[in-house]
Amino acid sequence: MNIIQAVNDALRLEMRRDPSVVVLGEDVGKFGGVFRASQGLQEEFGKERVIDTPLAESGVIGTALGMALYGLKPVPEIQFADFIFPAMDQILSEVAKYRYRSGGQYACPMVIRTPYGGGIRGGHYHSQSPEAHFIHTAGLKVVVPANPHDAKGLLTAAIRDPDPVLFFEPKRMYRAAKGEVPEGEVVVPIGKARVTREGTQVTVIAWGAMWHEADQAVKEGAALGIDAELLDLRSLQPLDIDAIEESVRKTGRAVVVHEAPRTCGFGAEIAALIQERCFLHLEAPVTRVTGFDTPFPYTLENEYLPRAPRILRAIREVVAF
């Protein structure tokens, strides 16, 4: 099963299990979504639960919010993460703050699914990774699966979560990442990182599509005799700070990888946290391997993305520090 199938599977199972789950967005209905994540759902659940909306992300999220208040569990899709900005006011000012501002009288849990990231020759409007905006906004959770199993399990958990969740799907891996996924219910709890390789010399922290690059770099590093530990964060908010601290206390070194531009990206937060909490254990600066501080480019996207060679380079520098 690949990631897109896993997403489809999770949606289908949750919709069967819970009649309050509805899917809405541009092209999600009859067409099943431009990436086909909701394929077949309208046939099975009808047009009132799998809704083709007009072209307005603010409307998609705004109506989803109203549905959530009334007790449905909406799973709106934003066609590309790059197109989430027209909905920023509804997400940051409304969805994130509804429970807080009403003193807990209301809540609007929903799962905003959206494909993110580069490597598909999409240029800067089909490749961005805007997670930092949402991590910076208290009241939202932010989840990014790297493989089909986690895509299914985390999406299921997100749909059952009492808080609004931004669910970023690594579109480059939609069909490229394949793996065994159990039939039936799979739940991966939100907030737990996954140690995908144990090691002693350096902690590499990644998520989503970049976990695959980091994995390759770590393997190449192993061939060079570097014993790295690799974490797939899976959930960026809540962050599994215990897993990070435990690992860095052991290794004394950390490399953080993400696609978004470096400045004020989530890597900055992770670096800040590590040096705050593991200061006396650090033997080298926490190092960021990230997208550059430019809009996402078209032709030179391989150069732009923090792929295995650059990650490996950083690992070697940090270990040699």
Binding site: S58, G59, G62, T63, Q90, S93, R99, S102, Q105, G139
Partner: protein, 394 residues
């Protein structure tokens, strides 16, 4: 240049009075301003949708609303609350609409419809606690004054960003339809809000999917300092319905009976599967935008005075007089009772601690606090313990 001048001249000519009984323009004729109460207080019985008892009841609600607004502005002047924004002059619009809905219907307010929350059972003292942001505040001191929520009355949470409630109302009504419930949502917004993104998407989504929602625009002539003519070039707000293939109506927003009747019609259309209604209620913001505003900087006293003469409470009083239901001395009595009610509510509210406890600062960010909120609460408690100035103004 020319254009802006034209607008100002037109404005001066018309003094922003709604053209009662049909104006000059094509769209004013297509969306005629509907009234029920004539200037002398008479009304065609066939057009009246309220029983005598209901009419008197709503008159008393209008008086209470006015009393609350006036008293809260005083409290603000005295420094007892920090801010207030009310509905003086717009009582018929607010109460006529809310009274036209059913108990099960959800309300999506902007920020002047406090009478709607009270009408739906929010205790007045609880409302005042919200203004004080004190330990009795149902919002836990999280929001500024006048941003209340009252879930028991299906009155959702007020927020400041303009028009965000419109698609939310559509979503709730949509959810109700999916559930098979007889629920029509009512949402209020100003004419300024019709320029905002969310008015557009809300109306459009509701139109396509025939969502049962009453979109009540309080066209009160001003958006802070911006006159209605600089807000949109459309002759009426109601005609904006045309863009969305939905039903539009224009009603005298200072005529409670007209607003009520129009709301009933709109609710009925929604419940019958005929979709949303854009209901323009033509009224006027007689006072400043809020206690932070001084309207003399941007509009003439004459304009305001002309509208004061069209006070919706006087208008309703004339109707009740014509019907011999209420005499002048009754109104005095109602007013005195409202005053008393407000006085008691303020007293009750002010008895609470002025601040909610410090842990409320972190309550409700998530269903359960994350480690950040837990750590930060501990951090704050320690800081306050070490230096009490941490928790006090300079």
């Amino acid at each position: 240049m020319r254009r802006v001048r034209d607008i100002e001249e037109a404005r001066m000519r018309k003094g922003n009075l709604p053209a009662v009984g049909g104006g000059e323009g094509r769209w004013e004729r297509e969306f005629p301003l509907r009234t029920v109460i004539a200037d002398d207080g008479s009304a065609d019985p066939a057009a009246v949708t309220l029983s005598d008892e209901e009419a008197v009841g709503l008159y008393r609600w209008m008086l209470l609303s006015r009393e609350v607004d006036e008293r809260m502005v005083q409290l603000q002047r005295q420094g007892r609350i920090a801010f207030y924004i009310g509905a003086i002059g717009e009582e018929a619009t607010v109460l006529g609409t809310v009274a036209g809905m059913r108990q099960q219907d959800w309300l999506f307010p902007s920020y002047r419809e406090h009478a709607g929350a009270l009408f739906r059972g929010m205790p007045l003292s609880t409302f005042v606690c919200d203004l004080l942001g004190n330990a009795g505040d149902r919002m836990l001191g999280h929001q500024m004054p006048c941003h209340e929520a009252w879930a028991a009355g299906r009155f959702v949470s007020i927020s400041a960003p303009i028009a965000t409630q419109v698609p939310q109302a559509v979503g709730a009504a949509w959810a109700a339809r999916i559930r098979g419930d007889d629920m029509v949502a009512l949402t209020w917004f100003g004419e300024g809000a019709t320029s905002a993104n969310d008015f557009h998407t809300g109306a459009n989504f509701a139109g396509v999917h025939k969502i049962p929602v009453v979109m009540a625009c309080r066209n009160n002539g001003w958006a802070i300092s911006v006159p209605r003519e600089l807000q949109t070039a459309s002759e009426t707000i109601a005609q904006k319905a045309v863009a969305y293939g939905i039903h539009g109506e224009r009603v005298d927003g200072n005529d409670l009976l007209a607003v009520h009747a129009a709301t009933l019609r709109a609710r009925e259309r929604g419940a019958a599967g005929l979709g949303p209604t854009l209901l323009e209620c033509v009224t006027y913001r007689v006072e400043g935008h809020s206690t932070s505003d001084d309207p003399r900087a941007y509009r003439s006293a004459e304009e305001v005075e002309a509208w004061r003469a069209r006070d919706p409470i006087l208008r309703m009083g004339r109707y009740l007089g014509w019907k011999r239901l209420v005499a002048a001395k009754d109104t005095e009595k109602f007013r005195a009772e409202a005053k008393d009610q407000v006085r008691r509510a303020v007293e009750e509210a002010e008895a609470f601690d002025p601040k909610p406890p410090v842990e409320t600062l972190f309550a409700g960010v998530y269903a359960e606090p994350l480690w950040q909120q837990r750590e930060q609460l501990a951090e704050l408690r320690a800081a306050i313990a070490a230096d009490p100035r941490t928790a006090s103004p300079r």
